[in-house]
């Protein structure tokens, strides 16, 4: 897709989103090593074009579900770095008042029905949100982000069957980052392209370069149009690569399982660098403008960290709250 076909403001928004995801995750990786963030942290550095391209085609009314590696999807859907950072720090000011943490952020007002610690669990939930939308004339679409690993879970197959059967406004975005935990996709998955599994459920299956934000945006726009017309779901496989490990700090407990040359080659196709080149080629974007966005993003992330660090921890009396709406 040609960048010059998209309004400059929207291109800048995409660029800002990608840089925000990158800086946010680089920052939390470093903070984790400093012992400031408890629990598990999974980053998606190198995969920023997928959430950015997908969410650029969505509105606040649309729903998403995401995964343990979900910071990017939340930021792209409008998540505030401050409240996300505070959640990662286990603070009262976080999106979930410190009860969810990195793997479980939810924001109802943004249509984020949750990151999820269980691989594949968000897929039927997004399908159900699409079902709810179908009662209201397909006013919104529901996107499920998941990885290559989740495409081997039963919930993936059951959900695609249901959504196709009922022509639900669901969009299944498989962010294939080449590894499921510590195992290469080629060793865990029967097909080379996960998108071909769509054929088994009579829906379109599209492979897209997951490092090309505009290509992702383009296929998403088609999927959204189809979903809103009541024509049913689409499976999009966005091929990308996980630059970092499965979980931050894994070097402490697992041996090397990837060829360093493979990682280095993947980094040659940095989605932010690729997008920057495209932007500069349009002729109407100046490098100085992108540098200004980078500085603004850095300030936003610095503010988010300061906000999280200075926020109060929850009072222990809150531990027994929120189990039920009506206890």
């Amino acid at each position: 897709m040609d960048a010059s076909a998209i309004p400059k403001e929207q291109l800048f928004h995409m660029y800002r989103t990608m840089v925000t995801i990158r800086r946010f995750e680089e920052t939390i990786r470093d903070l984790f090593f400093q012992g400031q963030i408890p629990g598990f942290v999974h980053v998606s550095i190198g995969e920023e074009a997928v959430p950015t391209g997908v969410c650029a085609a969505l509105t606040d009314k649309d729903y998403i579900t995401t995964t343990h590696r979900g910071h990017g999807h939340m930021l792209a859907k409008g998540g505030e770095p401050k409240r996300m950072m505070a959640e990662l720090f286990g603070r009262k000011t976080g999106y979930c008042k410190g009860k969810g943490g990195s793997m479980h952020i939810v924001s109802y007002e943004l249509g984020i029905l949750g990151a999820n610690g269980i691989v594949g669990a968000g897929i039927p939930i997004a399908t159900g949100a699409a079902l709810a939308s179908s009662f209201r004339g397909n006013e919104a679409v529901a996107v499920s982000f998941f990885g290559d690993g989740a495409s081997n879970e039963g919930t993936f197959h059951e959900s695609l069957n249901l959504a196709s059967l009922w022509k639900l406004p669901a969009i299944y975005v498989c962010q294939n980052n080449a590894y499921a935990e510590f195992t290469a996709t080629s060793e865990s998955t029967s097909v080379k392209d996960i998108a071909v599994r769509a054929a088994g459920y009579d829906m379109p299956g599209v492979v897209v370069d997951g490092n090309d934000v505009l290509a992702v945006y383009e296929v998403m726009r088609q999927a959204v149009t189809r979903a809103k017309k009541g024509e049913g779901p689409t499976l999009i496989e966005a091929k990308t690569y996980r630059w970092e490990g499965h979980v931050v700090g894994e070097q402490a407990f697992v041996a090397d399982y990837r060829d360093p040359q493979e990682i280095a080659a993947a980094k040659q196709r940095c989605p932010i660098v690729l997008f920057t080149q495209k932007l500069l080629e349009t002729g109407f974007v100046a490098a100085a403008e992108l540098e200004r966005i980078q500085r603004e993003v850095q300030a936003t992330i610095d503010d988010a960290v300061a906000f999280a660090q200075s926020s109060p921890l929850p009072d222990v009396s809150e531990a027994t709250q929120d189990v039920f709406a009506n206890p």
Binding site: Y63, T65, G94, Y95, C96, K97, G98, K99, G100, H104, V106, S107, Y108, L113, G114, N116, G117, I118, A121, I123, P124, I125, A126, T127, G128, A129, A130, L131, A132, S133, F135, R136, A142, G154, T155, E158, S159, N161, L162, L165, W166, Q321, D322, V323, F324, A325, N326, P327
Partner: protein, 322 residues
């Protein structure tokens, strides 16, 4: 008051709530046809959009129910038999039960799961199980076990209106019973037990299909001069602790009758609560009458041997009665 069937009570509750609230819809395997009768005829009144046949795909549709609830609907999801819950364990325990808490109170989860449970005669271990103790150990889920047609209707209506995930367990044997249901709007609030028969000597705390058995034992023992009170907690979560402790305080002697297993079961849980909070009221050890700790067998004599029944309840009462 009207005399209606247990299944009819379910059907009335569903129809009334669907009539009242357009966000209520029913989905599950064969719900259009209404395999056991509970959903029969709803299709004619509410159409295929709100009475949705699903594939045999529990994880898929149990999870879709979670998403639909979060996105503004009020689904009633039928899981044909309680043991099939194992096929969608993650969606119930990890998702429906936890998402409100994990989201710091944001997630709305007005979903009701209905299922048939319990031994109904040589259905063998995968169609006879009492699964609610497993859910009792998973915080965030409400557990409802009606023991007669009146409670079935009133509790199901309350469950559908509740904004939390509720699991309603309908004993297969009760499907063939009839009972009294009040005319007009009939709601039984969750968390309120019922004294089904008043007595002074021994309390039988009975769950689900054990209530009718306890009542028949009480009738028999009355002729021997033993006055038995029968308390039905009706919901295990929330639990009417005040009601439970009140019957213990009244009689000081307690038999807990439940079709679940002895170890880790609902009877064990209730007994522990009575000991923690009502120890001073007790004049005798608490007796639990439950299934033996085996899977439920197929062959009739084996099944009968494993399950709790009137004779076992009566023997337990006699053991601790003065």
């Amino acid at each position: 008051m009207r005399d209606i069937g247990f299944i009819e009570a379910i059907n009335e509750a569903l129809a009334e709530e669907m009539e009242r609230d357009p966000t209520v819809f029913v989905m599950g395997e064969d719900v259009r046809l209404g395999a056991f009768g509970a959903t029969r005829g709803l299709i004619d009144k509410f159409g295929a959009t709100r009475v949705r046949n699903t594939p045999i795909s529990e994880a898929g549709f149990a999870g879709a129910g979670v998403g639909a609830a979060m996105a503004g609907m009020r689904p009633v999801v039928e899981i044909e038999f309680a043991s099939f819950f194992y096929c969608c364990w993650d969606q119930i325990c990890n998702q429906a039960g936890k998402l409100r808490y994990m989201s710091g109170g944001q997630a709305r989860m007005p979903i009701t799961y209905r299922c048939v449970f319990g031994a109904m005669g040589s259905a063998a271990a995968q169609h006879s199980e009492v699964v609610y103790p497993q859910f009792l150990a998973a915080p965030g889920l409400k557990i409802v076990i009606p023991s007669d047609a009146g409670d079935m209707k009133g509790l199901l209506k309350a469950s559908i209106r509740d904004d939390d995930p509720v699991l309603v367990f309908e004993h297969g044997r009760l499907g063939f019973t009839r009972g009294q249901v009040p005319d007009g709007e009939h709601i039984v609030p969750l968390g309120k037990g019922a004294v089904k028969r008043a007595g002074t000597d021994v309390s039988i705390v009975a769950i689900g299909a054990m209530v009718a058995k306890a009542l028949s034992v009480a009738e028999e023992l009355a002729q021997d001069g033993v006055s038995v009170e029968v308390f039905d907690p009706r919901t295990l979560v929330p639990l009417d602790e005040d009601g439970l402790l009140a019957t213990v305080a009244k009689t000081g002697r307690v038999v807990i009758a439940d079709e679940g297993h002895l170890r880790g079961g609902a009877a064990a849980d209730l007994a522990a609560i009575v000991i923690d909070k009502g120890f001073d009221y007790l004049n005798a050890p608490i007796k639990r009458v439950t299934a033996l700790d085996t899977p439920i067998p197929f062959s009739p004599p084996l099944e009968e041997f494993v399950l709790p029944n009137e004779a076992k309840i009566k023997a337990a009462v006699q053991e601790i009665a003065r």
